[in-house]
Symmetry: C2
Subunit: 307 residues, 2 copies
């Protein structure tokens, strides 16, 4: 039994982590830390990780669901206390700090898992297998959602380091880097930033591989009505399409049976396996693509965003 | 004798690469490529790398001095043609693409050298040796120069991906990542971007190590009069200061004898050694710090820049 503590009890913890942990017999949620001190029905809740580590029950692992800007210090405290660490995506505010956390995990003989939940969407493993033996000619990402619906009150997303529309779009980039047989990099980007915030509300990213494949990502945070989380790959054998963030897969318009979408149960299954094997899984490629897009991207100031 | 071709015959090629190659007996500059087709006094000059590789004399190596936005395709052509490649700093427009170029170099059995000329400034090796056995309490970078004096007509520096004031400041970051015993990462940044361009003209970057050291960088592209390229490190044994971009070293105000500043001869000496040993040297840490600063930095729009 892996005794786990949860740090950051916000929307994603309530919606995903707590139910996933409740459904996995290998884990027992024994403590949490959150400055708002929410009532978690009998599970002791502490103000922050230091208090949880000092005064809480014995822990084997910690899952961090705090916003990325504050994740490094918390992760460091957990790793140095000898706990295995599960990082919600993105694994940190910067690319460089994640490499350093990986070094600390090695030093302390514990497991670090940089989780990317969209890679565990139902259609992703089959999409990866299907593309592995085919030549992708072109790939498009369309990631358009309504920020007011999915990120209510999440002001951190608009602050510097909050990534704006790249907070959801990094999910697409995590699928892209999982299913593509070749490594991908950014060649150009256009970022639309509302005049009253720091992070983009929409964007377009051009990417390629050394083979010269055309990969584009169209990102929008203001789409009302039907929401779009699609990745489409054109190959010599037909068109593969992942929809609903990877939950659905079609090939040439025909649905492929992929089973139930169980992203967070999948993540915790992987975390349990990594702990059992004493092996870390650290992948910063999606975050590196975002950093590269911010570095090379052209910015355009657009209308203020008022939630 | 290493027969070398130079791609991009601009200011840095004339000021540094051509004299350094002329002074190193292991190299022979046998061709160049530049869209402006400059007269290089008997050395054949081609329009671009493809023409140079197809029609020029036999080459063993290629040095790339083109702006970073265009470097990847050129590097790829050279590596695939089986040439050793010397990349002027920064080694690419993005972090991800450099990792891919390293993979291509391995595949083709040639050497890739991501050069950082400031690491070869006269004071840097002794600064590194002195700091290795000491605890740095605080470190400051002050990098303030006059863009009109050092980068006349270099419009690419202001375009997206041109990095603005980070084009010189990456030299400081290359020294920082060379002399610091611990890995460094960005925690916060403020970027001042003129209203008529895409890249910052000034900035402040807060960095740290997992040990929690305070590292700051103050960057300015509008300093007239005396120019400042200083790195100062406070330790329990005194204050180390690298000045003039690393050319001068003092400890507690006393000058240390460091010899003549020979950055580009030092770079070509290293490149010749790497070729002889069949070993690549690829370090993207300075570029990763810049990408991270762009990703987490707060932007402020400032007065237009008119050269």
């Amino acid at each position: 039994m892996i005794r786990i503590g949860l740090v950051g009890v916000g929307k994603i913890a309530h919606d995903q982590h707590i139910p996933a942990l409740a459904g996995d017999k290998r884990f027992q949620l024994v403590a949490a830390a959150s400055r708002s001190l929410p009532d978690l029905g009998g599970i002791p809740v502490f103000y922050d990780i230091d208090e949880m580590l000092a005064k809480g029950p014995e822990l084997d692992a910690v899952a961090l669901c705090t916003p990325p800007q504050a994740r490094r210090e918390t992760a460091l405290a957990a790793l140095r206390a000898g706990k295995h660490v599960f990082l919600e995506k993105p694994p940190g505010a910067t690319v460089s700090e994640v490499a350093e956390l990986a070094a600390v995990a090695r030093e302390h003989g514990v497991v670090l898992f940089t989780s990317w939940h969209s890679r565990f969407a139902a259609g992703v493993p089959q999409a990866k297998a299907w593309l592995a033996s085919r030549h992708v000619r072109k790939l498009t990402i369309e990631w358009r959602e309504d920020v007011r619906r999915w990120h209510p009150g999440q002001t951190w997303i608009w602050q510097a380091g909050g990534m704006g529309v790249f907070d959801p779009a990094i999910n697409a980039l995590s699928i892209l880097t999982e299913i593509m047989p070749a490594e991908v990099f950014v060649t150009d980007a256009k970022l639309q930033v509302p005049e009253n915030v720091q992070s983009p509300i929409a964007g377009h990213v051009d990417m390629t591989t050394l083979g010269g494949m055309a990969i584009t990502a169209d990102l929008d945070f203001l789409q009302t009505g039907p929401q779009t989380w699609d990745i489409t790959a054109w190959t010599e054998d037909g068109v593969l399409k992942l929809s609903l963030g990877g939950a659905e897969l079609t090939i040439d318009g025909t649905a492929v049976e992929v089973g139930e979408n169980r992203e967070y149960p999948g993540l915790y299954d992987r975390f349990a396996t990594l702990i059992a094997e004493g092996r870390s899984e650290v992948d910063v490629r999606p975050l590196t693509l975002v950093a590269d897009a911010f570095m090379v991207g052209t910015r355009e100031v657009v209308e203020a965003f008022i939630e």
